[in-house]
């Protein structure tokens, strides 16, 4: 078995374009899903912390669903299941405008929101109760206290966990190939079936993933250092 390894040659021309598009799609998906995951995650954590009646059950159910059902199944459910409930007009529009992309970003974002929310919740719990009391004592509302005093401290506590979730989110975008979204893994498979240069194309894709992963991990460490509360 001879292994030819000429990735540079492979990258010129069509294959390179397809792979690049795939890489960009992966990055876009990661960004969109990340924003959704954090927005929803913060809301989940704050709601559950507020102690209002019923919040524990509702948020608990949301988290339980997203943690116990495999992400792939969630994606399939969103794309093949929930999407078919939308009115026909919306479905046709989505089909034309790359519906899988948005359905996928939403599915991944909402799933990771459950993990982010739980991480933030333990981060919030780690912030001493006195902080919330002191904030309320100077007249801040509950929401203001969370926003300016508690959540900033909680975020600092959980940066390592959140970096981990970001990494996971990034890797999970690869699952969207199952619904035909043209991200990096899908692109590499496409090129592979056309050119049969399996080893090379997978090697290049692997390097792409690894480089971005290392970037995320290093970024996380830099973030940790930057936000170290002075004096501690």
């Amino acid at each position: 078995m001879v292994i030819r390894f000429l990735p540079l040659e492979l990258m010129q021309g069509e294959s390179g374009q397809v792979l690049l598009k795939g890489l960009l799609a992966t990055l876009e998906l990661t960004a969109l899903a990340w924003l959704l995951a954090f927005a929803v995650g913060i809301v989940l954590a704050v709601i559950r912390t507020s102690g209002l009646k019923g919040t524990d059950t509702v948020v608990g159910a949301y988290v339980a669903y997203h943690r116990n059902v495999p992400l792939l199944v969630q994606i399939l459910f969103w794309y093949f299941g929930i999407a078919t409930l939308l009115p026909m007009v919306v479905q046709k529009w989505l089909n034309v405008h790359g519906g899988g992309f948005f359905a996928g970003a939403i599915a991944v974002g909402l799933c990771m929101a459950a993990y982010v929310g739980e991480d933030l919740r333990s981060g919030i719990r780690a912030v001493s109760k006195g902080q919330l009391e002191a904030a309320r004592a100077i007249g801040l509302t509950f929401v203001q206290s969370m926003r300016f005093v508690v959540v900033p401290q909680a975020l600092r506590n959980v940066i390592p966990a959140l970096v981990n979730e970001t990494l996971l989110l990034f890797k999970n975008t690869s699952l969207l190939m199952a619904i035909g979204v043209g991200e990096l893994t899908y692109a590499s498979r496409q090129i592979e079936t056309q050119t049969f240069r399996t080893f090379e194309i997978f090697a290049i894709t692997t390097v792409c993933y690894l480089v971005i992963s290392i970037f995320i991990m290093l970024g996380g460490r830099a973030l940790e250092r930057h936000y170290k509360v002075a004096g501690r």
């Binding site: 339980a64 495999p70 459910f77 078919t84 990494l167 690869s174």
Partner: protein, 233 residues
């Protein structure tokens, strides 16, 4: 949805057996159990390698850890899908491919669990063992690992639950596990995708939720066991 379950429960449970290979939920569980059982010794080996005094072994193990943490499981599955037949010289069943990919992926995460379990032990244990004259290997094998394993049980079960969820990726390479079986049901029915996939989600939910409850019960038992042992000594 109940009639779907009524009509197709056999297909979802064991695939097309005996008219075809075993599949469905049974295959999911077989893959998960086999995956975790095989990954466990590998995980221990990797954990020991990362703390080994030999630099070469350490670098190799750490390299593998970075590789697995940086690459999506799906890429591992594709690598296995193409590399294994190439290495074996003949076509490999999808199940084998899936299993190998799972084992490699899970063994790294299990190595993390093992390492955490070992580090949770008081340092005095290693010191006491070495002062008796036991070698590094003997210390690890006779003193550290047995105690660490007991502490690790809840985390191990947690990883098992993760592995169950990971088997769903077999769908992408047409391995006949639960998700694939559900998609087959969907292509038979065609007009009820919402119900089919909702049913699929519910099955996974019940399975993993019950196991998660078992993990919490195990955690309490292990905590109790630890406290009892402390009091006795």
């Amino acid at each position: 949805m109940l009639d779907i379950l009524h009509d197709y429960w056999l297909l979802l449970l064991i695939g097309q057996y005996p008219n075809g290979p075993l599949g469905g939920l049974a295959m999911t569980l077989i893959l998960a159990v086999a995956g975790i059982l095989l990954a466990f010794p590998c995980g221990i080996a990797i954990a020991l390698a990362t703390t080994s005094p030999y630099a070469a072994l350490r670098t190799l193990a750490n390299g593998l850890v970075y590789l697995v943490r940086g690459l999506p499981l799906l890429m591992f599955i594709f690598w296995a899908y193409f590399a294994i037949p190439a290495l074996l010289g003949e076509n490999a069943p999808g199940v084998l491919t899936m299993l190998i990919a799972l084992v490699i992926y899970e063994s790294v995460y299990l190595a993390e669990v093992v390492r955490a379990g070992i580090e949770a032990l008081p340092g005095g244990q290693t010191e006491a063992a070495r002062s008796l004259g036991l070698t590094n290997m003997q210390t690890k094998r006779l003193i550290i690992l047995p105690q660490a394993l007991y502490n690790m049980l809840p985390s191990l079960l947690s990883q098992f639950i993760s592995t169950i969820k990971e088997t769903s990726l077999g769908y992408v390479i047409s391995v006949n596990e639960l998700t694939f079986a559900a998609s087959q049901v969907n292509s038979i029915l065609l007009t009820q995708p919402f119900q089919v996939y909702l049913l699929l989600a519910i099955i996974y939910f019940l399975l993993c939720f019950l196991l998660t409850a078992a993990v919490r019960w195990l955690e309490k038992r292990v905590e109790q066991g630890r406290r009892e042992r402390k009091v006795k000594s």
